[in-house]
């Protein structure tokens, strides 16, 4: 049990590092995917150890949300790219138009 928690914590830390340290928007999006995966892993692990299938249902919900989030995030980054010509996050100083 503790191993799964360790793995999920490690994934969370790696994803947080990616979100905080990298400037490229798409890498940030990928890091968010990794964080989401860490939480879904927890859901599945707890459901497996407790024998309660509702954790798996949460996992399925999380997967669907993550896929939708990736699509929406990419759409946002594409429009940012079209207006700013870049997806470097620290170069985008204003989000007005």
């Amino acid at each position: 049990m503790e191993y799964e928690l360790l793995l999920s914590g490690a994934l969370l830390c790696i994803g947080l590092y990616g979100v905080l340290a990298r400037r490229n928007g798409i890498i940030v999006l990928m890091s968010i995917e990794i964080i989401l995966n860490a939480s879904i892993l927890n859901f599945v692990a707890f459901s497996s150890y407790s024998g309660n299938p509702s954790g798996q249902i949460f996992a399925l919900l999380g997967i669907a949300v993550a896929a939708a989030e990736a699509a929406v995030g990419l759409a946002v980054f594409l429009s940012i790219y079209q207006t700013h010509g870049s997806i470097e996050l620290d170069k985008i100083r204003f989000l007005k138009w």
Binding site: Y3, L7, R23, I27, L29, A66, A71, F77, L78
Partner: protein, 93 residues
Amino acid sequence: MAVDWELIAFFILSAFEIIGSVLVVINKRLVRAAFWLAMTLVTIGVIYLLFLSEFVFLIQILVYAGAVPVLMVFGIMLTRRKIMDEPGQEAPE
């Protein structure tokens, strides 16, 4: 000699998982990052399989590993201009 094969498999997969996700966040080339992301997603799906939740595993591969990295690479292609202009400008960051 009772070897916990599941634990060994879990350790191997976790090693893959952590190496892959580290490679995702430190990679300079975005397409490689997307490839490693796909690998971590598939690996985590196999970890779900260790927890005897096949359905989550299959949905993970079908939706997550099948669609999300493709979307990522799609976005990478659409936002990289350098390859269009002059061949060979593989963009670092």
